[in-house]
């Protein structure tokens, strides 16, 4: 890696080399991750229903998603006539960029992430909020009633899940006394999921809603809205939405792992820095697996049910949790 960096630095300068290599590595890994996660999703869904899932392309169907991706690449990019062209074309890009940025913020081990931010958690929250704008742009510009409904539901949904997510993350911030993701990981001698189980549960429910996963896949809702916001998208543009969804799953899973499961920490991670990313990815994929498991277990909520659930239950519980956390902290720190 460092030899490659030296070679690139000769042409691009030190900063440029880090930028290009870092971005290239992240994009490569995220591409692999999407291919893997779609395969995993199909396997989980299959085995939850006592089927085998993809088995034909490659060992246990491992190359099935590669074949699917090639097929999507070769498809014609149809742009319907009455769309708002710029918005329509820009939405799939806009939904993808923040997730990649998010991926670079997660601490990978020791003191390194691809991008260092003293207020990392705040940036994470802001970046993950952009997804909704992109979804609404896609839905609105498609000039299709199902797409508009999907986009509107997405906005309605963000009002429901964003606040509990923030409140539960805030409980972690209260304990760690910082917004720096590195410091939050460093502070977890015991994973915060033990200290803050309620916040962890609310955060998990929140990121499930944030990635538009069942039981909160209200903006997509195949059985009600055709494809929801991406009804009018074809070929690789549609694939970008898929890309973004699965990337988001991994990245938010990694953020969840960072906040509640101790991030890159694990036995021997201090001594061997290369173990850090391994632990982080293991924890992130465990969260992702739980999300998939939940998807193939629970039926979709109506969005008034999600609203009731979020406003009447999650927000009060998160608030009480926050107050209790603060009270306990004050009691502990008082002389």
């Amino acid at each position: 890696m460092s030899a490659l960096h030296g070679l690139a630095a000769r042409f691009l300068g030190d900063f440029g080399a880090t930028l290009v290599l870092g971005a290239g590595f992240i994009l490569l890994y995220l591409t692999f991750n999407v291919l893997f996660l779609i395969w995993l999703e199909r396997k989980v869904s299959a085995h939850a229903q006592r089927r085998l899932g993809p088995m034909e392309v490659g060992p246990h169907g491992a190359l099935q998603t590669v074949a699917d991706m090639l097929k999507l690449l070769s498809k014609q990019l149809v742009t319907p006539l009455a769309t708002d062209t710029f918005t329509f074309l820009f939405a799939p890009i806009l939904i993808f960029i923040p997730t990649v940025c998010l991926a670079s913020l997660v601490p990978l081990g020791g003191a390194s992430a691809f991008a260092e931010m003293p207020n990392g958690l705040a940036v994470v929250v802001v970046l993950s909020g952009i997804t909704v704008i992109a979804i609404f742009m896609a839905g609105w510009s498609s000039n299709n009633k199902y797409a508009v409904l999907g986009g509107m539901r997405s906005v309605a949904q963000v009002v429901a899940y964003e606040i509990p997510v923030l409140l539960s993350a805030l409980a972690v911030v209260l304990i760690a006394q910082t917004l720096d993701l590195h410091a939050i990981v460093a502070g977890q001698r015991v994973p915060y999921v033990v200290v803050e189980p309620v916040a962890a549960l609310i955060f998990f429910i929140g990121i499930t809603a944030e990635t538009n996963r069942a039981p909160f896949d209200i903006p997509e809702a195949e059985s009600e809205l055709v494809g929801g916001f991406h009804t009018e998208y074809a070929g690789m543009r549609f694939a970008l939405f898929f890309f973004a969804e699965y990337t988001n799953m991994l990245v938010l899973g990694a953020v969840g792992a960072t906040l509640f499961l101790g991030g890159w920490r694990g036995p021997g991670a201090e001594a061997h820095p290369w173990l850090g990313p391994v632990y982080l990815l293991l924890k992130a994929y465990a969260v992702v697996f739980l999300m998939m498991w939940a998807r193939w277990t629970f039926p979709r909520l109506r969005f008034d049910q999600l609203m009731n659930f979020a406003w009447k239950l999650l927000i009060p519980v998160a608030l009480v949790n926050l107050v209790v956390t603060a009270a306990v902290l004050i009691a502990v720190q008082a002389p």
Binding site: V44, A46, H47, A48, Q49, R50, R51, L52, M55, W293, A294, W296, T297, F298, K312, L313
Partner: protein, 151 residues
Amino acid sequence: MITPRSVLSGLKSLVVGLGVTGRHMVRPVVTLQYPHQRPDATHWGGPIELVTFPETGTHDCIACNACARICPSDCFDIAGVRPPGLKKMRATRFLLDFSTCSLCGLCIDVCPTDTLKYSERYDDVAYRRDLTVNDLLAPFGDDPFLAGTQP
């Protein structure tokens, strides 16, 4: 109305649900990878075929047309000759139009020599109607009993 009790019972139901799918995830799959694996068709009643008797190594169809007479769908086209030196007739043509067969099994019941049975085939396909006609004598090749007779 959200009460602590309803929240707890809701949470319990979620865990129970996850438990159900989780249990199924670790149980063996129930599907077959069809072209590679075949189901057990021992008791399957497919298109009828002629029985091979071990004593003679061939079928025992005497072209009596009992099956053709009882068939409610008129599937059969049967012809036979009496070979010289034999008391019984011998089938020379036995065609079953499977496109009209309803697999009722009356032919099997009525066959005086018990030479009809259900086959274990379940995946017959045809793209043209005339391909649905099965020649039940085809698997037997040249009939030794008919050697020397004119067809």
